[in-house]
């Protein structure tokens, strides 16, 4: 077993033993969703109209919440150093870490979101669009987020900086993801948006690991 797969397995085991790691963002997701009817308007028709956007914004924020710790522990305890020492490619490592992050943040969110969308009175025909847009979109959030997490891993109060760095880069995914759901809700074609998300995903999978690998090396030079 190579170090990359070993690390993925190890991180998943750690997440299994620290359920808070993946449960807290999920709770956060739920709570943000609950805030909108309270703050804006609980009228079902109104909620149905904003559901697509709200679910996506909440998903994005809760992903952000779990990103901060993605590399921090590994930088602090020397794990990162061992990756580099192993001679294994950091590119593969970056992909592996993004994958683990998606497994504990994006994947549970994608599964739970359609259930929670019920509470937001999402139109029935939008459910498959919601599921598939999140399935394609959340991995991009993890990949792009990994860049920000790697850049800010060595910074003391990196969390705030992380959101500043990453949120502008998230906007295209938000736009296409939310619009796929919205269009599905008003019975319009939404395959185009999913196509865009899929192509963004391919791009992110090939390009972001370079940036992550470069950024991780910064945390090593001491």
């Amino acid at each position: 077993m190579s170090l990359v797969t070993a690390t993925i397995k190890r991180d998943l085991v750690i997440a299994a033993r620290n359920p808070g790691e993946w449960l807290n963002p999920l709770m956060f997701f739920l709570m943000v969703l609950a805030l909108f009817p309270l703050a804006v308007d609980p009228d079902p028709n109104f909620l149905a109209k904003i559901a697509a956007g709200v679910v996506w914004v909440a998903a994005l924020l809760s992903t952000l919440l779990s990103l901060d710790s993605l590399f921090k522990a590994d930088v602090e305890d020397g794990t990162l150093e061992q990756w580099l020492a192993s001679g294994e490619s950091l590119y593969a490592m970056a992909l592996g870490k993004a994958f683990t992050h998606w497994c504990i943040s994006g994947l549970p969110l994608t599964i739970v979101a359609p259930l929670l969308a019920l509470m937001m009175n999402l139109p029935e025909n939008a459910y498959s669009a919601l599921f598939f847009s999140l399935l394609l979109g959340t991995p991009i959030l993890s990949l792009l987020g990994a860049v920000g997490a790697a850049l800010t891993a060595g910074v003391r109060s990196g969390g705030l900086l992380l959101s500043l760095v990453i949120l502008p880069l998230y906007t295209p995914i938000l736009i296409f993801g939310a619009s796929a759901v919205y269009h599905a809700g008003i019975e319009m074609e939404y395959l185009g948006q999913l196509g865009f998300l899929a192509s963004f995903l391919c791009m992110a999978m090939t390009l972001t690991p370079f940036a992550v690998a470069g950024a991780l090396k910064l945390n090593l030079s001491r």
């Binding site: 850049l151 502008p168 880069l169 906007t171 295209p172 390009l207 940036a211 950024a215 910064l218």
Partner: protein, 253 residues
């Protein structure tokens, strides 16, 4: 040819050489910049005809468009300088990138604020989620992110590298962001009066605009020179040429 390029590259990497050459070049950028800005402003404000639809508020274009153009290309330049630093570890490039960031951000801010002010007489409100303004706003956030990273790490080298990586990621993302915002905008807003989009601009309106654009770019070069020179002085402060420079009164001006 190749040798000459290589020599030029190595000289560019030398802070002392850059400092000396920029001392000589500075007036050649600053004076034309001032001239262009004055001529362009006077022409644009007083002599260009008013727009048949927007009236005189249209004269804001002479700031808004050059600032927006510059803000975008400054980001690209910053990313290029960052790439040069990452690949060849040329410190000069890092200093140039760090100098560009606040200047680019302030032009981005200018583009935003003039857009908002222009929006009031045009749309009747200060802010509309217009595609151009929205992507400018996101660009400003990107600038802030890069600037924050450029100061965040514990060593200067690492901060510069982090800023460079983010600016490169941003450079790849800017077209995507721009495209998605445009797409989103056409989706949500029926085509209304946009700020600057015009099928064809009359020549007497266009010429001052071109002059202003030239002026802004020259001004930008001047400002980058000024800031980079300070960074050189600071980093080379222990070198003898800086010490000599400080002792001569000419060096102080």
């Amino acid at each position: 040819m190749w040798e000459a390029l290589k020599r030029l590259y190595h000289r560019m990497g030398s802070p002392k050489w850059f400092y000396e050459i920029s001392t000589r070049w500075l007036p050649w950028f600053a004076i034309p910049a001032g001239l262009c800005l004055i001529v362009g402003t006077v022409w644009g404000l007083a002599f260009a005809p008013a727009d048949y639809q927007q009236g005189n508020s249209f004269r804001i274009i002479y700031i808004h468009v050059p600032a927006a153009l510059l803000a975008q290309s400054a980001f690209a330049m910053m990313a290029m300088a960052g790439a040069v630093f990452l690949i060849w570890r040329m410190k000069m490039a890092a200093w140039v990138a760090a100098s560009i960031a606040p200047i680019g951000a302030s032009f981005c801010f200018l583009a935003l604020i003039t857009g908002a002010i222009w929006g009031k007489p045009t749309w009747g409100t200060w802010w509309v989620w217009d595609a151009r303004l929205t992507s400018m706003l996101l660009l400003l956030f990107l600038y802030f992110g890069v600037m924050a990273l450029q100061q965040a790490m514990d060593t200067e080298d690492n901060s510069a590298k982090a800023g460079a990586i983010l600016s490169l990621v941003g450079l790849v993302n800017i077209p995507i962001i721009k495209y998605s915002v445009d797409w989103w905008n056409t989706l949500h807003q029926p085509a209304t009066l946009t700020l600057t989009e015009k099928p064809a601009m009359a020549t007497e309106m266009l010429i001052p605009l071109l002059i202003m654009i030239a002026g802004f770019y020259l001004l930008f070069a001047t400002l980058v020179f000024l800031r980079t020179r300070n960074k050189i002085l600071w980093h080379e402060r222990k070198k003898s040429w800086v010490n000599k420079l400080i002792q001569t009164p000419a060096g102080r001006s």
